[in-house]
């Protein structure tokens, strides 16, 4: 997915990996890199913890922490750091249990039909979480939906120091290629059972595609890339994604929007996140109030119904009694019609005259 400008040129063999316009976001780091970054630089809470055993929350938190510290460190980082970091890239991770891991396994399950030929599922599977970029992971996990290319383009366009940034690659796609083909060289790639592909190697389009599903297919939910797509198809979908997301003002779902802004404007991350959280809480409260309101009104109406029912019953009983009484009276009148009359008669009869 998201082959930005840098990625494209890289793909066409125009540029070696190094001069790529790099962007400093931790999101373009792979898990391995990120972990080493964390261990080295930040004093964050998730320090040194195995990502596999982290739950997503912890992961995000540590990412954010790292992002902050990285933003500060970025200016001073040296090109040498890059190589080291990339060296750590290909370390196969022993994937332990827990949430990040589980998420990852889901990915693998989803993607495996799309993985490059059934030949080497294991070598592919093992290294990849370590190599997956954080962004990719988050995107795939459904935490975010964003294309880094847009942000990367912006970043690359703005400050010169960023262009020289040692940390990482423009986007996931190129990241991947770089891992396999470029920076790590043939050794890294072949260790994973792949021929060096991608960067500077236009003759292996299918291979590129074979690898893409691991990365590209996961990008935006809408984009699904089959394993055997031609590179044209691949590029098409990539273009689509990029086009779709190229606007920096495009609304993005929850955690990422703030992060992007943070990436652009430094220290506002916390503020934005906090604001969003507050809004979320408010929203929840409001929903609870709404439910309570409805329930209260329902109760009131039920009580009213109950009351009216009772009243109705009472009135009906009363009415019945009245009817009964009337009937009795009528019957009485009918039964001895003479009683009355006789008395009348008698009275008249016994009149004084």
């Amino acid at each position: 997915m998201d082959l930005g400008d840098g990625g494209e040129s890289e793909r066409k063999g125009a540029a070696p990996p190094m001069p790529l316009a790099r962007q400093g976001s931790v999101y373009s780091l792979t898990f391995d890199e990120f972990q080493s970054t964390l261990g080295g630089a930040s004093g964050g809470g998730g320090l040194g913890k195995d990502f596999g055993s982290m739950n997503m929350d912890e992961l995000l938190r540590s990412i954010w922490t790292a992002e902050e510290s990285q933003a500060m460190a970025s200016a001073s980082a040296a090109p040498a750091g890059e190589l080291q970091r990339q060296g750590s890239l290909t370390l196969p991770r022993t994937l332990s249990i827990k949430t990040v891991d589980e998420v990852w396994r889901d990915f693998v399950r989803d993607a495996s039909p799309g993985a490059a030929g059934g030949g080497e599922p294991l070598p592919k599977r093992q290294p990849t979480l370590g190599e997956m970029t954080l962004e990719d992971f988050l995107v795939r996990a459904g935490v975010v939906r964003e294309n880094p290319a847009a942000a990367a383009a912006v970043d690359a366009a703005v400050p010169p120091p960023l262009a020289a940034r040692p940390i990482q690659v423009v986007n996931n796609g190129s990241m991947f290629f770089e891992n396999f083909g470029g920076a790590n060289g043939a050794s890294g790639a072949s260790a994973m059972g792949f021929a060096p592909v991608g960067i500077g190697d236009p003759s292996h389009p299918t291979m590129g595609n074979g690898m893409m599903p691991g990365v590209a297919g996961m990008g935006v939910g809408a984009v699904t890339v089959g394993p055997l797509d031609t590179s044209m198809g691949q590029l098409d979908s990539v273009g689509k994604v990029n086009g779709e997301l190229s606007s920096p003002v495009e609304p993005v779902p929850y955690p990422f929007e703030g992060v992007i802004r943070g990436r652009r404007s430094g220290g506002h991350v916390e503020k934005v996140v906090e604001r969003r959280q507050r809004r979320m809480i408010k929203n929840r409260e409001s929903a609870a109030r709404s439910r309570a309101r409805k329930q209260a009104y329902t109760m009131e109406l039920e009580a009213e119904v109950q009351k009216l029912k009772e009243q109705n019953e009472e009135l009906q009983k009363k009415q019945e009694e009245m009817l009964e009484m009337q009937k009795n009276k009528a019957l009485e009148v009918i039964n001895n019609p003479y009683g009355h009359k006789k008395r009348c008669l008698r009275r008249t009869l016994t009149g004084p005259w």
């Binding site: 109030r289 709404s290 309570a292 309101r293 209260a296 009131e300």
Partner: protein
């Protein structure tokens, strides 16, 4: 005839405005032809004029009616809680609010944000309120029904009715 308290609890009127009480007087509130049952929705324009509030109770008992909005200015952030809309004192039992003495004139609901609750609380007075004893609060905002009751020795409410109201689309809103 006592009203059920449950809707008041669920609607958080009991808790946020008054404490748990046992209704002992019936209070019927009607805006024009519309009778108010707890939790019903009334448009601000319908409630622009004061409602007819009829109460039961003995003729020589006197009652105080207070109407407040605990959700001002916004239900999610009621920084002005409560906003006072109406105070009538010395309402004789078995009559309606017009027979009492208005301390704070009626003001219709005008919720700026969100759905507000408007709570009518009836207290039984222990004595007749004389002029000046129940001075009108200087500000309608930041009113407290509880504090008011405590200040005038009104005890717990004897009846509470509340309704909801929400801002209407701009053109038909009246205050």
């Amino acid at each position: 005839m006592s009203r059920f308290v449950d809707p008041l609890v669920v609607g958080r009127v009991i808790g946020e405005v008054v404490d748990l009480f046992v209704p002992s007087v019936a209070m019927a509130v009607a805006y024009g032809p519309k009778d108010i049952s707890n939790g019903c929705h009334i448009k601000p324009s319908m409630a622009a004029a004061q409602p007819l509030v009829r109460i039961s109770g003995r003729r020589n008992d006197l009652y105080t009616l207070v109407m407040t909005d605990p959700d001002a200015p916004s239900p999610s952030d009621p920084t002005m809680r409560e906003y006072l809309h109406w105070i009538v004192v010395n309402i004789p039992g078995g009559t309606d609010a017009t027979k009492g003495d208005t301390v704070v004139p009626y003001m219709g609901p005008a919720p700026p944000v969100g759905i507000h609750r408007y709570v009518l609380v009836l207290f039984e007075q222990k004595t007749r309120a004389v002029d000046g004893m129940t001075a009108a609060p200087a500000d309608r905002a930041y009113f407290s029904t509880r504090a008011f009751a405590a200040a005038h020795d009104l005890g717990l409410p004897v009846a509470v009715v509340y309704f909801n109201s929400q801002k209407e689309p701009a053109h038909n809103r009246r205050r």
